[in-house]
Symmetry: D2
Subunit: 348 residues, 4 copies
Amino acid sequence: MPIDPMYPKSFASDNHAGVHPTILEAISAANVGDAPAYGDDTWTSTFEEKIKETFGPTAEGFAVLNGAGANMVGLALMLGRYDAIICADSAHIATHEAGASERLLGVKLMTVPTEDGKLRPADIKSRLDGLGNHHVSQPAVVSITQTTELGTTYSPAEIAAIAEVTHEAGLRLHLDGARLANAAAFLNCDLKAVTTDAGVDVFGFGGTKNGALAAEAVVVLDPSLAHAVPFLRRQSLQLASKMRFISAQLSALLTNDLWRQNASHANAMATRLATGLADVPGVSLAHPVQSNAVFATLPPTVAEPLRRRYLFHYWDEAAGTVRWMTAFDTTPEHVDDFLDDIHKAAAT
Amino acid sequence: MPIDPMYPKSFASDNHAGVHPTILEAISAANVGDAPAYGDDTWTSTFEEKIKETFGPTAEGFAVLNGAGANMVGLALMLGRYDAIICADSAHIATHEAGASERLLGVKLMTVPTEDGKLRPADIKSRLDGLGNHHVSQPAVVSITQTTELGTTYSPAEIAAIAEVTHEAGLRLHLDGARLANAAAFLNCDLKAVTTDAGVDVFGFGGTKNGALAAEAVVVLDPSLAHAVPFLRRQSLQLASKMRFISAQLSALLTNDLWRQNASHANAMATRLATGLADVPGVSLAHPVQSNAVFATLPPTVAEPLRRRYLFHYWDEAAGTVRWMTAFDTTPEHVDDFLDDIHKAAAT
Amino acid sequence: MPIDPMYPKSFASDNHAGVHPTILEAISAANVGDAPAYGDDTWTSTFEEKIKETFGPTAEGFAVLNGAGANMVGLALMLGRYDAIICADSAHIATHEAGASERLLGVKLMTVPTEDGKLRPADIKSRLDGLGNHHVSQPAVVSITQTTELGTTYSPAEIAAIAEVTHEAGLRLHLDGARLANAAAFLNCDLKAVTTDAGVDVFGFGGTKNGALAAEAVVVLDPSLAHAVPFLRRQSLQLASKMRFISAQLSALLTNDLWRQNASHANAMATRLATGLADVPGVSLAHPVQSNAVFATLPPTVAEPLRRRYLFHYWDEAAGTVRWMTAFDTTPEHVDDFLDDIHKAAAT
Amino acid sequence: MPIDPMYPKSFASDNHAGVHPTILEAISAANVGDAPAYGDDTWTSTFEEKIKETFGPTAEGFAVLNGAGANMVGLALMLGRYDAIICADSAHIATHEAGASERLLGVKLMTVPTEDGKLRPADIKSRLDGLGNHHVSQPAVVSITQTTELGTTYSPAEIAAIAEVTHEAGLRLHLDGARLANAAAFLNCDLKAVTTDAGVDVFGFGGTKNGALAAEAVVVLDPSLAHAVPFLRRQSLQLASKMRFISAQLSALLTNDLWRQNASHANAMATRLATGLADVPGVSLAHPVQSNAVFATLPPTVAEPLRRRYLFHYWDEAAGTVRWMTAFDTTPEHVDDFLDDIHKAAAT
């Protein structure tokens, strides 16, 4: 369904945005003559250094092609043949990666229901009973999403508490950071505070939803694991041959805090939208707005006319909950126009 | 190992080339506002139409991210749990995809030794003995590469003969077309002649080695198979969220025969190189030059000084065979300079 | 932990019983000279005929080595690369097969919470939303267990209702029949009534828990699926070379209704045990007794002294629920002695 | 194809033999009352002790259900996601396990052609070039078969030499010992000499082909690997619930050297057969007879009439090579009758 040209702004996903001009320029700037393939180039060296600058000297970064790829490569590092992943039942790896966890990793997802998409230490402890029982998949990794699929954000202390219980039980901590930038922007901390400093072992750092064309990083903080990434990335179909163009995108995001600039803007637009909803009768927020996502509950009589003009998805159609996403390119005018239309729909 | 700036041209791989300007422009041109993700956009519709124009009305095209991805998605369509693929022992799927066939597809590769990288009908027949025997992996797909990993090219009649024996035995025919454009350019035929018209069931159409940034297509000619591609592409980590930028690359290649222009040029540069080798003492061609690859055998005394100045790989170090690849951006001057250096090395 | 020789009867599992004498005799009787391996023998032909006699002329039976094997081979027949199984969250395939579903089948288990281990049609409908969405594992099979892991039993009409909603949605129905005999004995119907006649497509028929040494059958009722079993059985490590000894066990069970004799006896012993619990203070049944399993809730002060004398497991230790199983070899005296000890423990 | 009752002895496979009486008695003797399932019984403890007595104190034995299962469980212990196995191209894991290596293990088999089924150190070295190259499956295990699929036998020194080159390269050594007993009997050494003492890391010890009903052991000599076996055995469908009956078979074989008695007898019958072939015109041995297998090359005019009376298989029909196997129950009269018929067929 193409967007109605009269209402060109999508609130369906930060994936609907295009490429940030600075990132497109970085791609063009890398298009100079020949360069070795598969990462043996200077753009990739620069990216690797920027990962270390950002996440600390033990961090090893590996560029991949998409978020599901970052998850699968990162998780595969830590999972044997009879292992399981503990995650929220709303986790992207559990719900929207077409069974890649089961098929590519071959492991069980031990999902935990949550209200806000966030795992708690007690959730993890509740899934450890089977450790040592050979009839049962063995929990080996805890995977959390930051920001979560519900737009909520873990504080550094919350992640550290999860890391503690995870490591005490002999498991490792994975973080799906497709929107890690939005979390750090919301928390007003640096990226290291919610990853390296909080005890994460392996995570993905998302670029695509934050203005890149197609670029994500797998970042490995446990040095015993990094050697396997090149093999797993190649086998998992996540190795770009003309790698310089992927690395250049990630380096652009990590230069002059472009990642924060884009994410803060997107977050601010979500907050603007949420704020503007406050006085719309019949519309309420389903989750606190802690990133670039607004989950709102509204009656079908409001939602349906809006859906004829704007791209967005129901999150839970039965409950009347929709998800509205903002992006680096969402303008205040986009939001205000949208709010106007919401008001009109609610008033009808 | 970075390229010596004095000798900036790589002969190691067509992957070392950058992005063709027309394709980079197509990417920029697609960067206009928002668009639905995952292929529900007008750039992707255009790409799908161009696939039908090029390969016939039954052809369904699906954009993916790299060549190994195109192979795995295309093959997965045709392979059950206890199946096998018959292919040349030099096939990329057998040698350079880090075991993706075995791990992601879970199937056996029944490899056949060949002199020139090309399967013959008799090779296929020789691998069918186990059909029906429950102790043995069941051949279900024949996979050929066009042009082959050794730079040789199947004629349309050769492919048709393979298709005939393949289909008679109840198997399906897959073609790894990472360099399909080079084959059609060499054969001076259209792309349909070596795919649809020759009886191929599923193939990959490569963009990346022919001037794209990162773009390949899985093309399905058997209509009973196409419905599964979106699921397999998603699960295999080959679905781009900002799909329009992948589709735009492929459409650019399929517009005004850019694919042929690039491939013909690369082929011509390989021929120029091969021709120039004729009078170099001690250097001989290991395979006929039928695309953009030159396989040459030369003594280490010649190869080693060249390797200090140019990027290229040994194919078979013990035999003294090297692979030199040309690309859309290789110039006659690049070739002539290289030939000069080869002459000098051989004269020392 | 060996059983205390003073209390030699185990109530932990019907797997703790030995081999029924008739079945052991059948094994010995098959030990006469040589016979072709892998099923090409007369004992296996007899077994195959008995399967048809029991389940109808379209039924094709394949002997395998254990219950998890029967499940994996049967399910693999019906599952593609991006499929999912809908099952109760207490299903053996979900809880106690060490992740075989995820690793060997490579599919997602869409588990549904239930009170009594039984899926209902509405449960299945509630898991079909993702059909056709390429981001989501595609439900392809519904799997039910008869009797369930909680000792409850589906009536033929309940299975037929499940089959109807399953088939309407284009899915197939699998039944884990590790204790199918106990169900038919409880329902006082023949085995066909709860399988073939109720619309099941593929099921396992358990022998081991009902007096065999190690023997289960995969039974395929959908004729389009049977051809794949020999390959999947071989690949899944479930093919016995000296097959006659497995087939002979299954034939013995299917001769003179030995299956029913064993199962009815075990069921009767469970009923005797449950009946005897009625007047034990503090002890209650957690589920209705509809087979050879008694789930009882009792205080730790009662459970712990019993556990020092008898082998049995907690099902839910926090809730104080234990599982007591009876078998073909459980005697009324065993039950009465056990009840005596329960009474004594409860009186302390 | 049932055996012609006039010629009841099969020379097709040692799997065509029945169960040795001592082993059947051991099964019956274990059928006394209840016992814990899954190996927590005294018969299994006895088996584990006998493994240590036979193979040394570091050996840990795990009973499984068949030879392919022993291979898959043993190999899975040592293989990661992007690994490969180096083996002879005649290896059972490569040829007759229906692709289990590729599907269940997910790894590549790097097969080496051999004349006699035996790998040499140089064969292993020839497959190590790709170590460290992320485009290539990484050799991690060398797997040899003792006795080989061609009936030949490695000496302890030959295995030690293979172990040395394997370990030097950082790989591990696996041995498929489906007919390990025949090898030790032929070599007149104990079982430890060709396993523990020769540097093997993990191996299978076959019972079924040597008189058991269905029983094999996975034996782990590298103590760092043993902890994973229970999980892998369960997940790989190789865990018997009524384990005592499997353990009892293996213990019987390991008691009073029954394994050697059976294997020596079978070997002697093969030698008797081979010796008797010496003066048959047109019949020659294809491989030296070093176990219970005779590979003979004979013209179709001899083979075909024999095949109408006896069960046996062509090994290479084009070459006219057949495989004749003897077993614990082959009598001198069986061999002599068979030789008579061979003489008659050759004389026609």
